[in-house]
């Protein structure tokens, strides 16, 4: 059996707990170090997960002690930290997005190529069993022609990083599109490729947008496809994707336990659940974070990660292209006349 892969987690904020737990649960990984400029954060994470790794405040302290790192820090710090890790010879899994800009993303990939190190990007929802199953079904054309799709995800609030960097557009590289929307953007690119036309409407007034609606068109030879994706940090929306296909409406809710459901056009009152037939002995089920880390380790030992740095860069390109075409969402909710006559 291979030696355990010695892994460090750089950045000990909210998301790092999930990576640390996944690392500890994996027989092929040793949680070797936790790195945070605030030493107490690293110590407290180690205590929470019941581990005793090296506690470090800088990447320099990791030399010779780790094989790979997970970078789970604010978006604007990804590029510099990833480059430092790659230069030190560490394989690198970077929490999504790859970087805060395409230029920074390209810098990371150049160095990865020069140093022959793996770069993977933490689009963890790609490791959900139902998402992978849906990808397989689409790849094999199970639903026939896919004509349109609609995706939405919305919550009133939610993710609150310890540093509150999510409130500053310069640090995140954007708003809800980057923070949560990027997960679907990544899946969409995997399923359908890069769109030929795209548009974005969002409600940014200088800060990170809270609401965004992106539309896409794919020419795909003679089988055009169009779609919409709506993301919100101020309105709760039932999250999931619906595909309008030759077989019917295909629904996959955005939950790890959701099934792929088909509602045939001709019998809208019925639905069928499509699921993979289980063969062989029962599988040991791991979390999506666990599967992501296992995939990263496999790639580091000679392979390609499920979400490579190149795919992460493609997501960044698409996000930048969307922001470049943005137009403001209308917010004129009240009839102007009603307020113009007001004593206010």
């Amino acid at each position: 059996m291979a030696h355990p892969f010695r892994m460090a987690i750089v950045g000990c904020g909210r998301i790092s707990g999930a990576h640390a737990v996944a690392a500890i649960a994996s027989p092929s990984i040793e949680l070797a170090a936790l790195v945070d400029p605030v030493e107490q954060r690293a110590r407290s994470l180690a205590e929470r997960v019941g581990a005793s790794p090296l506690i470090a405040t800088s990447i320099r302290e990791l030399h010779g002690r780790v094989d790979g790192v997970v970078i789970a820090t604010p978006n604007h710090t990804h590029a510099d930290l990833a480059c430092e890790c790659l230069a030190a010879g560490f394989h690198t899994l970077i929490e999504k997005p790859l970087a805060a800009s395409v230029v920074d993303g390209e810098r990371i990939l150049r160095l990865a190529s020069d140093t022959q190190r793996v770069v993977a990007v933490g689009y963890v929802t790609r490791f959900r069993e139902n998402v992978q199953f849906m990808a397989d079904l689409l790849r094999h054309g199970y639903f026939g022609e896919v004509r349109r799709f609609a995706y939405q995800f919305g919550s009133r609030g939610g993710w609150a990083p310890l540093s509150a960097y999510n409130l500053d557009r310069r640090l995140t590289g954007g708003g809800v599109l980057v923070v949560t929307g990027t997960h679907f953007i990544d899946r969409m690119l995997d399923w359908f490729g890069y769109p030929d036309e795209l548009e974005l409407a969002d409600d940014s007034l200088g800060g990170p947008e809270a609401n965004a609606v992106a539309t896409f068109r794919f020419r795909r030879g003679g089988m055009p496809l169009s779609g919409v994706a709506r993301f919100s940090k101020s309105v709760a929306l039932d999250a999931g994707v619906v595909l309008d296909t030759a077989r019917g409406m295909v629904v996959l809710a955005d939950r790890p336990d959701a099934s792929v459901v088909v509602r045939p056009h001709e019998t809208p009152g019925l639905e069928t659940v499509v699921r993979p037939r289980l063969e062989g002995p029962p599988l040991v089920r791991t979390t999506e974070f666990g599967r992501q880390l296992e995939d990263f380790v496999r790639a580091c030992r000679g392979g390609v990660p499920v979400v490579s740095g190149e795919q992460g860069l493609l997501s960044l390109r698409l996000i930048e292209a969307l922001y470049a075409r943005r137009r403001p969402l209308s917010e004129d909710w009240y009839a102007v006349a009603a307020l113009q006559g007001s004593p206010a």
Binding site: R148, F149, A150, Q152, G154, R156, G157, G158, W159, A160, P161, A164, N166, L167, D168, R169, G175, V176, D203, S204, L205, G206, G207, P208, E209, A210, N211, V213, V228, R230, S232, K233, S234, V235, A236, L237, D238, A239, G240, V242, L243, D244, M249, V251, A253, R263, L329, S330, E331, D332, W333, Y334, A335, A338, L339, G341, S342, P343, A344
Partner: protein, 384 residues
């Protein structure tokens, strides 16, 4: 310049106040939030956001620096609502704040019937939201009696864009869980969020004030039937809506699991694994719990009892007969009450700028834009 610290700025009312206040001349509204998780609506403006924990007086002092006025729209757990408010009032006094505007709720008048004014008896059941708001009003009145100029605005359910109350009705209707009581004839008191924001502005500027509650409503009667029928199209809900008698609604409300305060339930809640797990982040609690476990293990008679707590199965609740309707909305309809707007007119000069019709249109416009209802993609999205 009136420099206003808005506590609870990331909530529905607070965010609308801050957004609207940015257009007011001679006002500088400074949003104060508790955490970054729910502040997306404000953050999109790129404006500076102050952070404060109402349970940490130092952080309130910092948030109040340079402010002349305070609006309190904050909500939270009981401790935040009581001790937190006391901290805020004390900090406001220390900072020489010229006016505090506190948002109360008509929930303090639980059980009232007919048209009432602010002098009606406020006797909410113990442990309810109304009781919490009444306790807050008492704290504000006490602070006012010690010289802190304060106004208490008392709104009913708040409508308009982002309204959690209207969304609750829409959700219930989409799930076919809304039943009207007596054909929806009872009034549903509402205030559009813009009207309430307008009242807050008046309250910040008002001269002669006291800290007695002031009802702020839309001033137009609307029935539950009208309200539900206006919202029905968003939910693909056929008309007429189902209706049950008042007697039936009262029976269902009485059959619903009681939520009156119970020492036993509170104790069960406290020793439940979820609560203990959350409390363990506190070092003192973690230490104490560990010691208690050692004591329990040392006393053989107690150990099975402790084990039983973690593995016990909840007793099944009584099942109501007939379709399941949203119980909270049934209870709301049993409140056959309207709130006089006279005191708002005489003390603040308040006349609601937004009519019910305009308010509902604004909600519809916002709902359409926010959910894509009825747009070209809706035939897909409605499958979710």
């Amino acid at each position: 310049m009136t420099r206003v610290a808005v506590f609870g700025a990331s909530g529905f009312l607070g965010a609308t106040l801050v957004e609207r206040g940015r257009t007011w001349s001679n006002f500088d509204l400074r949003p104060v939030i508790h955490g970054s998780g729910s502040a997306a609506r404000l953050a999109r403006h790129g404006m500076p956001l102050r952070t404060a924990d109402l349970l940490a007086p130092d952080s309130i002092d910092r948030a109040l620096a340079g402010c002349t006025h305070v609006v309190n729209c904050s909500r939270g757990p009981a401790e935040v609502m009581t001790r937190g408010l006391r901290n805020l009032l004390e900090a406001s006094r220390r900072a020489g704040v010229q006016r505090v505007v506190h948002i109360s709720s008509v929930a303090v008048y639980e059980g009232a019937q007919g048209t009432i004014d602010e002098t009606a008896p406020a006797r909410p059941s113990a442990g309810t939201y109304g009781a919490m708001k009444l306790a807050q009003d008492t704290l504000v009145a006490r602070a006012a009696s010690r010289g802190l100029s304060s106004i208490v605005l008392c709104p009913p359910n708040i409508s308009g864009p982002h309204s959690a109350f209207l969304l609750e009705i829409v959700r219930a209707m989409r799930r076919r869980e809304l039943a009207l009581v007596d054909e929806g004839r009872t009034p549903c008191a509402l205030v559009d969020v813009e009207n309430l924001v307008h009242a807050i502005r008046l309250a910040l500027q008002a001269g002669d004030v006291d800290a007695r509650r002031i009802f702020i409503t839309d001033g137009e009667p609307v029935t539950w039937k009208t309200l539900a029928e206006t919202l029905a199209p968003f939910c693909d809900h056929p008309l007429p809506l189902p209706s049950i008698s008042r007697h039936e609604a009262e029976r269902r409300a009485a059959e619903a699991p009681a939520r009156r305060p119970s020492v036993l339930r509170a104790a069960r809640h406290l020793i439940s694994s979820e609560v203990r797990s959350a409390l363990r982040s506190d070092e003192w609690f973690a230490r104490t719990e560990k010691r208690l476990k050692i004591i329990v293990k040392a006393l053989p008679g107690l150990e099975p009892l402790a084990r039983r707590q973690t593995t016990s199965v909840a007793r099944p609740e009584k099942m109501p007969s007939g379709p399941l309707y949203a119980e909270r909305l049934l209870r709301q309809q049993l409140r056959d009450v309207q709130y006089s707007g006279l005191r708002a007119v005489t003390r603040l000069g308040y006349v609601p700028p937004v009519s019910i019709g305009a308010s509902m249109q604004a909600f519809q416009a916002w709902y359409e834009a926010s959910t894509g209802w009825n747009d070209e993609w809706w035939p897909l999205v409605r499958h979710l």
